[in-house]
């Protein structure tokens, strides 16, 4: 009886339209022009990059003032990805790092290259490598990856509260 039960593969796909909303449109427009624009919460004064939904998750109020952040930042923590998976767009092994951009109060994820994975460190200072300007779109993928700046590492105490 069990032999009669078959499994079939039925691939599904969905294309979405994403409304950026007024909260993050400045962020998208900034990227289109090679700038990293975050927004400051008028209540706690912390700077969000990306501003995501345009709302401060702590205070529940609309983020306000536009603030240019980066371009350099500090690696707070990271993962060396050695596992292959469906839909993967980057060759393994690669370093996915949480980067606290200068002037921002929350880390964002990006790729680290021009450096052996084993040499990446918490506290390492990094800077972006951009795609050719002709290829820019309203996307964080305009930055190909981050690379070490060669500056001394940041002290643990400087980024400990961001872990």
């Amino acid at each position: 009886m069990a032999d009669d039960i078959l499994r079939i593969r039925t691939p599904i796909g969905i294309d979405y339209t994403w409304s950026s909303g007024p909260g993050s449109v400045v962020y998208m427009r900034g990227l289109e022009n090679g700038k990293l624009i975050g927004r400051r919460c008028p209540a706690c004064e912390l700077v969000y990059f990306p501003p995501r939904n345009g709302i401060c998750p702590r205070c529940g109020v609309l983020l306000a003032a536009e603030v240019e952040v980066g371009p350099r930042g500090t690696i707070t923590t990271f993962c060396i990805v050695n596992v292959p998976f469906l839909g993967q767009t980057i060759k393994i092994p690669y370093v996915a790092a949480t980067i606290l951009l200068d002037g921002a109060d929350i880390g964002m994820q990006h790729l680290i290259q021009e450096c052996e994975a084993a040499d990446v460190r918490m506290g390492m200072r990094v800077e972006p490598v951009w795609k050719d300007k002709s290829e820019w779109t309203p996307s964080l993928e305009n930055i190909l990856y981050y690379k070490p700046t060669g500056e001394p590492d940041a002290d643990f105490d400087v980024y400990a509260r961001h872990l």
Binding site: A97, A160, L163
Partner: protein
């Protein structure tokens, strides 16, 4: 309003495995349900209400499975409630079911959680690119690995702690016939040689991908009192949540988890969890989360959870046995994993855990978390009435 008492009177689960190609989702779920009903000596006709939960529908690619599971659960004419709180869903589903009884609305409630990972691709489903971020994300391991690195840096834990937890849980699983992984060859030395998948997380320190389901039958005090056999009385339940990302968030020990633990212990009258809790079933999908949650739950002081692991405190023979069942590290039907923790905690205080029974367990904690460590669900169960 005073809450009514609620007891777990039936527990049923499937033998968790990588692929149950012989059954549909409905068949898998019904298998757990039939075992729970048999354990409670009830039939579906006795059930007043059903509460079902699973992790994101994307994991199997079947949207709203509760719609078509209605018939296989004989839910016609009864309330059916679907719960979803990501990986913690098994826990929160059991809590919603308990609330159906504790409110006084229902006397016999069936609750079920499941995942059939072989029907889909969880790694893909958890790596969907978002328009505002860089697509470097690599599944749950990719998300949690940097947090584990932060914990290691912050606490000064030596690198063998994760491997120790993995060896413990895989060894415990040998005593649990329902566990997915039955691997008797692990030693600390071998575990340390396991390849880094999501560095600093080794292969052995990750959970498997499982098909499985669990069902619990919950009953009101008057119903439970008339039943022979042992029950697990629900002493307290608690849930808390927080945003996945906010500036200054403590990702290693989220505030929501601390608040949830404080609440669930306070409501159960527990003032010294380390002394008063006899067994813990903790949601540990990556082994390093055991020391991290020991701290988050208040069992260990900050940055000291790893010492509990190193000193064998969480072994089956230790002062605070954690995951005698083998835990998520040995079976991970994602949506069911939280309810497995709750159900295994119940089995411990019922004295029905079989070979992985902790002698004399009277009070146990079931713990689940989900999303980016943003949803927490916990219950304390006891062999005696609260």
């Amino acid at each position: 309003m005073a809450l009514h008492r609620c007891a777990v009177v039936g527990v049923g689960q499937t033998h968790h495995t990588s692929c149950r190609g012989d059954v549909s989702i409905a068949g898998l779920v019904r298998e757990a349900v039939d075992r729970a009903l048999l354990d409670a000596n009830m039939t579906l006709a006795d059930i007043d209400a059903i509460v079902i939960g699973k992790a994101p529908d994307m994991l199997e690619g079947v949207m709203m499975p509760e719609l078509w599971l209605t018939d296989s659960l004989a839910a016609s004419g009864k309330p059916l409630f679907r719960v979803h709180t990501a990986g913690s869903v098994g826990g929160s589903t059991a809590i919603v079911a308990a609330q159906h009884v504790m409110s006084g609305l229902h006397k016999r409630v069936l609750t079920i959680a499941f995942e059939k990972q072989s029907d889909g691709n969880a790694m893909w489903a958890l790596s969907v690119p978002l328009p505002f971020s860089m697509p470097v994300h690599a599944g749950a391991g990719g998300y949690f690995s940097p947090i584990v690195r932060s914990y290691i840096r912050r606490s000064g834990a030596p690198s063998h702690i994760g491997a120790m937890v993995a060896v413990k849980d895989r060894t415990n699983a040998l005593k649990n016939p329902y566990a997915h992984l039955h691997e008797d060859h692990w030693t600390l030395e071998k575990a340390m040689e396991s390849p880094m998948l999501w560095d600093p997380i080794r292969f052995v320190e990750t959970c498997p991908s499982s098909d499985g389901a669990i069902a619990l039958v919950l009953a009101s005090e008057d119903v439970a009192d008339k039943m022979p056999g042992k029950k697990a009385w629900v002493h307290s339940t608690a849930m808390r949540s927080e945003p996945t990302m906010f500036a200054g968030r403590n990702q290693v020990s989220p505030r929501a988890g601390e608040m949830c633990a404080e609440d669930v212990f306070r409501k159960a009258g527990i003032t010294d969890p380390l002394k008063q809790i006899d067994a813990v079933e903790m949601y540990v999908p990556f082994s390093w989360f055991e020391p991290m949650w020991l701290e988050n739950l208040g069992f260990a002081p900050k940055d000291q959870g790893w010492r509990f692991v190193e000193d064998g405190v969480t072994e089956m023979t230790g002062a605070l046995p954690v995951n005698a069942s083998g835990g998520v590290l040995s079976s991970n039907p994602i949506g069911a994993s939280g309810m497995l923790r709750f159900g295994e905690a119940a089995l411990q205080v019922m004295g029905k855990a079989g070979e992985h029974q902790i002698d004399g367990a009277r009070t146990a904690l079931g713990h689940a978390y989900g999303g980016g460590s943003q949803f927490f669900a916990m219950w304390v169960v006891g062999s005696e009435k609260n």
